[in-house]
Symmetry: C2
Subunit: 521 residues, 2 copies
């Protein structure tokens, strides 16, 4: 390539309409030509003066590119002899010496990655009628929050802005421990409370710390999709155990193969909503103590109970330090806060705290300090009280809408606590198709069958979250949904439906258990 | 137990000085007695009237406890026949039927958990002279930040407060892509930028998605401790490759065993600080393309360069989509922000985005929106500029202090970029002991040897972070440290030290490489 043709080589590649400055374009074009070996090692570059002339540009523009290329090692200058393309081709290990890749054009995801993506459970929408598990974030008292934030910024404490450590901000751990002792009968001191960015992180850290690759964990069937995803991503094998109206319905055969972890939602089973009975609780606690298994109690939304007493946590009944209790502010405040916590036995507190620093570098100290003040000044408790009243109204509106459309012909279950209920559909109805049709009509109605381990145990239903839907929107959104359900389930009549509750449900009396065998729901 | 003795049983257990209300105490004492089987199944409880009398308390106080115990299933009332302890002992699966636990009293941590804790690298202190890797968080423009926060609260957009999804807040992804294209020559569109809570999470998600249990990853020796911890916690096997002045010093034998991942810090090797040479960059890119390996480029602090040109990223040179580029706001803004990002090839963007939602439920939308504004209004760029000037002054102060104490006898390396330098110590000196003595004197000086894979390759030195230390404190803090170094290394004279640079360093010319073989440092 002669100097004139080199200028031409550049000119046809320069984009005068681009945002990128001309000097940077020249640098990039030459660099890419060297990387692509269009300009071979030892090629003599034109002088900056000649090239500037050829391009019709200022010499400074060209010099910038040359200097940068020299600095990065693409060009080298030989004293008194001009500038050359440097020898940076990695020929000391010729490419021919590399072995061929085992799977040259196979799928790029690992098997565990492909599985994670294939069974992804997170919805791409996280707001609107009837998204389950989402509180009304617009009600969050942001003025109070801003005031507390500004107060902390004024103090400007470096330790709140740098990497977090030691299990989280001490005053927040105190405030959470206090709240849990009173509201959830959790038996703990502040040192046992470890702050995380939410339940996923809480679960991740304890199973990594306490479980080996290949260990098993009992999970409820159906259960929260995130539990399965996190367990599998940490190489823990989930073993799905069906639930009945008392919680995990264990068989003798299950008990003969003790798992390392037992993942349960005893206060409000997710997603069905029943409460684990007292005898099941005692069974699990005794079993875990004998087998040295860990019970992971996910107490995600039991702050919201409508008309029934608050229930003690499983952790509070444990006398053998086998329960790891997970909680979150995602339901009580807002999910985007990303603050959760785990309460561990005293003997594990130091290790879990270290592991959180080690694996995630702790979480946000500043945010934690603001949240501690928010709790200590009573805003947390009053916000939960206010939201309980609001959500109770919304629940009532949804119950009325369901009854108005379907009378007694469809059962809404799990509606005595939390942020959602489950509307059961007749067996054989396709809840996935209904969900898809609802989505096309602007309604989120997640299919119950998707929460089961597989088609053999799956039942048909819809999860309907009411907490984030204003009362006035509930009726009309449910009207739309009801029409879709009717169409899909072959129910032509509006108002009074005539199909009876399918007999299959008779064997699962979720709302009529005797007081002797179960805690209140 | 008669009614009178039952009242006594309670009275000796009630703590009248406790904060807990009396009715709650009565509930808990009876509950625990049932759980401990002190009160057997079928035990007839005294009436609330009798018990209240026996305790000398109001009947309401006793009734509360009874009602709660009844609601939770501990007590049952038989119509007209009083109240009894319910049968909730889980005898259907008698404890004798459980197999014995395999390891009844072994260590509770898993092998992977125990290893994580044993090699924990996170410091319990994260602020003060000379903490490496920590910027001056007190300089953060919090008034600007508060103003942007308040603006977003006023708009109160629900989608910013609920669960995050789809790779992060779109305007932030745009702003980061723009910054990376200009400042780091990263070749990307906004869709390729996935927001995480930091580099640990970025690494966690890609190795889970792209690597199987047991796959290997090359890491630099020495390297950042967090890389090793995250890899091992995801069951990826780290293979330590020594670094020389050009970066990873690969041998032919290494190349014959292709890893799944190649973890490097090409712009500013952590912790030694040199820049990867152009020929090594080209070698890695070609090798990764042939072997279908993934290069994970950790570009943690290269926004701060003192007196040398900004360097292009490795990602920007890649023509085969084999580089995953990780960045963080921990060094440019503050670590407690917990915002990082990963730039992935377009073909992986959807999967990585889904995996972030699935494994961590996304990160904080509200925070991301504020950060996007902060960048778009130019505050990010101006803060980085202001900090570069400040850190350059502090670096100069530390260099002068080192020279004042040790002249040419000790080499400070890796000081042309970033937030720390490495002070090399004579071979054989015990940097761990020096670090411990420094800590006792209130100085953080992390031992270089701790960043190596093992004692065979480890060299002695100290990581000294200057970014978070005001100029006026640097001199006196280093005076203290210098005295400790002198004592431990047998160097009696203050001011002019006479020991020569140890010959071993001559083989590792970290600051005198030819321009041909390496990019500028």
């Amino acid at each position: 390539m002669k100097d004139a043709s080199f200028a031409e080589f550049l000119l046809i590649r320069i984009d005068r309409s681009a945002d990128q400055p001309m000097n940077r374009q020249i640098y990039l074009i030459i660099r890419d030509a060297i990387l692509a070996r269009l300009l071979p090692v030892g090629f003599r570059m034109p002088s900056t003066r000649e090239l500037a002339k050829g391009l019709g540009m200022s010499r400074n523009t060209v010099t910038y590119g040359y200097d940068q290329l020299m600095a990065e090692g693409y060009l080298e200058s030989r004293t008194g002899a001009g500038t050359y393309v440097a020898d940076t081709v990695p020929d000391q290990f010729s490419q021919r010496q590399f072995p061929k890749a085992a799977a040259p054009d196979g799928p790029e995801l690992s098997a565990r990655g492909a599985k994670l993506i294939a069974q992804a459970g997170a919805s791409d929408l996280q707001w609107g009628a009837f998204m389950p598990g989402v509180p009304d974030v617009t009600q969050f008292p942001h003025r109070v929050w801003s005031r507390l934030q500004n107060k902390h910024w004024r103090r400007s404490r470096a330790e709140l802005l740098t990497y977090g450590g030691a299990g989280g901000h001490a005053p927040l751990r105190e405030a959470i421990a206090e709240h849990l002792r009173i509201a959830r009968s959790v038996n703990c001191r502040a040192e046992q409370v470890i702050i995380t960015t939410g339940t996923h992180q809480s679960l991740d850290v304890v199973v990594k710390l306490l479980g080996e690759v290949g260990d098993s964990a009992w999970i409820e069937d159906p259960c929260y999709w995130g539990t399965r995803s996190v367990l599998e991503s940490t190489s823990i094998k989930p073993v799905a155990i069906p639930v009945d109206d008392e919680g995990l319905a264990l068989q003798r055969a299950d008990l003969r193969r003790p798992p390392r972890f037992i993942c349960v939602t005893p206060s409000h089973q997710y997603p069905l909503g029943m409460v684990m009975s007292l005898s099941r609780r005692r069974l699990l606690l005794e079993y875990a103590a004998t087998q040295k298994a860990w019970i992971i109690e996910d107490d995600y939304d039991s702050e919201f109970r409508y008309g029934s007493r608050p229930l003690a946590s499983l952790q509070g009944m444990d006398r053998h330090d086998r329960v790891l209790y997970m909680g979150t502010f995602s339901k009580t405040l807002f999910p985007g806060l990303r603050v959760g916590f785990i309460v561990v036995p005293e003997s594990l507190a130091a290790a879990v705290s270290t592991a959180v620093s080690e694996l995630y570098r702790g979480s946000q100290g500043f945010l934690q300090a603001v949240l501690a003040d928010f709790m200590n000044e009573g805003h947390f408790a009053s916000h939960v009280r206010r939201m309980s009243i609001l959500y109770a109204e919304r629940l009532q509106a949804l119950r009325s809408a369901i009854e108005g459309h379907f009378g007694d012909s469809m059962a809404a279950i799990g509606d005595e606590a939390g942020l959602h209920l489950v509307l059961r559909l007749p067996p054989g109805s396709n809840d996935v198709a209904i969900s898809r049709a609802a989505r096309a009509a602007g309604i989120i109605a997640r299919p119950l069958s998707g929460y089961y381990a597989g088609p053999d145990t799956a039942r048909s239903g819809l999860l309907l979250g009411y907490a984030c839907v204003p009362v006035e929107q509930i009726r009309s959104a449910f009207d739309t949904l009801a029409a879709i359900i009717r169409e899909h389930c072959g129910m032509p009549f509006i108002g009074s439906c005539s199909i009876p509750v399918p007999p299959a449900y008779g064997t699962l009396p979720l709302r009529s258990a005797s007081p002797r065998s179960r805690a209140p729901s």
